[in-house]
Symmetry: C2
Subunit: 424 residues, 2 copies
Amino acid sequence: MEEPFRIQTEKYAPLEEGRVAAYLAKIGIVVEHLGGEPGGWNVREVGDGNLNMVFIVEGPRGGVVLKQALPYMRLVGEAWPLPLERSYFESLALIEQARAVPHLVPRIFATDRVGAAIVMEYLTPHIILRKALKEGRALPNLAEHMATFLAESLFKTSDLYLTADRKKTLMREFCGNIELCKITEDLVFTDPYRLSSGNRWTTPQLDETAAAFRADAALKAEVQLLKLKFLTSAEALVHGDLHTGSIMVTDDDTRAIDPEFAFFGPMGFDVGALIANMLIAAVAHRVHRPGELGDAYRTWILDEAEQIWTGFDAKFRALWQTQATGDAFTAELFADADGQAALAAARDRYMARLFEDTLGFAGAKMIRRVLGLAHVEDLESIEDPDTRATAESKVLAIGRKLILNRAAITKFGEVLHMVEEIDS
Amino acid sequence: MEEPFRIQTEKYAPLEEGRVAAYLAKIGIVVEHLGGEPGGWNVREVGDGNLNMVFIVEGPRGGVVLKQALPYMRLVGEAWPLPLERSYFESLALIEQARAVPHLVPRIFATDRVGAAIVMEYLTPHIILRKALKEGRALPNLAEHMATFLAESLFKTSDLYLTADRKKTLMREFCGNIELCKITEDLVFTDPYRLSSGNRWTTPQLDETAAAFRADAALKAEVQLLKLKFLTSAEALVHGDLHTGSIMVTDDDTRAIDPEFAFFGPMGFDVGALIANMLIAAVAHRVHRPGELGDAYRTWILDEAEQIWTGFDAKFRALWQTQATGDAFTAELFADADGQAALAAARDRYMARLFEDTLGFAGAKMIRRVLGLAHVEDLESIEDPDTRATAESKVLAIGRKLILNRAAITKFGEVLHMVEEIDS
């Protein structure tokens, strides 16, 4: 893989539309990719200005996206400072993911650590997966692609594939992504279970439910066990925010974007994030599209969720069987028939534990989207508050059950059965 | 805690006896501690020259130890390069441990990162615990002190006590201790289970046993699960080499020394290392001192091993109940009676899992001391090879059983019962 060009900005300053062409004109590979003269490039700002500036730049030959981090986030109403370094961690993560799955992430042309910017491939005519799911789009390759993304990106940054030397060197770098990890620790694992000024929910419909979650001691203990795992389990380089808003799709292409929350954490956090958002999409879909077509698509979403897990499970096992070059489970020790059988049994236990983690993290991700700070369009766009609260209650009930029953669930079919019971 | 003085050496060079006084004369606190004039200080080299140079320097008022890392290790017969940076990691670990248990580690006066040296308190009349156990010394505070060391040093570098910010910042630093971690990964978890040029055992007596261990697929799979935990589970700053040769004692004082293998790893690795070495000492003791006195002391060693675990368990729980300032298990969520009960149940599960880890790591440590590269004096000093092989076979059998049965053992008494069955 070609390393991206490193732009050497001396001092951070937010870019303006008028300066973008000159900024990019210094990068040979970008000039080549866009074609024509910088003066003729079309530049437009398309970000929502909440977290990042996003410019789309098009030339006669192609387009690029220039994404620059802003030093604050406006979502909470007042200034919430955010580290510019997240852009650096995003670029590092994209580079590592591209080693494993170059076709499933945007190509990076250049990075600018001080300027907190990344120049990458302009994905077009891609749309955000969350939107595609709401619209009921046919996405025949979605599960296959995302199972591949998860299996490859997680396996190939784990101790099953990397030497301990390489893994510790990478992990050392990502230990610096402190503030963004802290956002997850608070918003996913803590705030929904206590009174916090950032929390919101559909009120008054869910007031009692929110209070019940804050008082649910058994659930809170389980969520804190998951948080402990998030804090201590450095299994692989996880994307860290792999919801359906972090995936862009066309009918046949799929890309995971925005890994600024990346760090060495538990694999189940990524797999669970995606499955949680698929389950939310399924529950919301029936509200958005009542009737047979909606029901059929909802069933398709649930099938895809299952295939994401089963595909991930199969691909991860296959990688382990064919590319076990890492320092964990030293392949040499299991070369004979007895060794192969013992390793297969250990692999089964490993995958069972990873499934349990996945379900737990999925549950935590579902709950935070209803009771916490950051909600999702699937549910937010249900205008009638009673209808919305009903759908949200189902999401909460599924999330809670996934967490509490995660050790007992052995097949994804049981998850689907649970969803059907709650969302019938 | 006062930070140690930082010596600014420009270039690494091994120190010689004649240069030591001048080297130390620049450090005010050392001059004060030693008293008198540098010219009058008594300097003697006492290291074995295998890994480190160790100078004892005494003045009219007191003494210090100057420990300098050498860039290689001679134990394997030919040059084995070792990173000088291990001295830096040792000093970092000693500083962190001193925040929790200043009375149980040597005081550090000065560190020299480039010179790979540490100036620390001269512990006298301390002797190595391994030697004290062999001699049958009364050590009335051993279990109490080491339970405190383990509970305090592990709890206070964990997410139960530290904020995630502080923990990730510390962990980032220790991710650099790659080479010394790799030594453990190889020598403890891998080499004893394969043909490796560094391995040795009492031959021919244990030839068949060694071959059986290399062919024991179920055991190898369990040991690799433990190795995976060693590679991924960043629970706390572990000492990393806490055998009875890393502890210095008098009748009433106890100090853990030499944490150059320190890194963020699983807590059970430290607790297990100490317990493993106590069990080895117990098995060896009966050989060294046959008869009633020896038997009584052997029973005392086993009692101490039990009290190290039970004391650690009690102290760790108490710290969790009174000093839970970390980001894991956010205390605020468990303030009411229901919360307290749920947290108590979660704590029980946590400690049960930690006990299981402890037993597994203890088993791995016992096996490597008989079949791997680095052996221990307790067993090495048994001159008759048949007698030694018999004791070593018992150590192997206990180690293997600890690993395979670790999930089923719920009380330390079961470990003692197992030892008595095998070493009767």
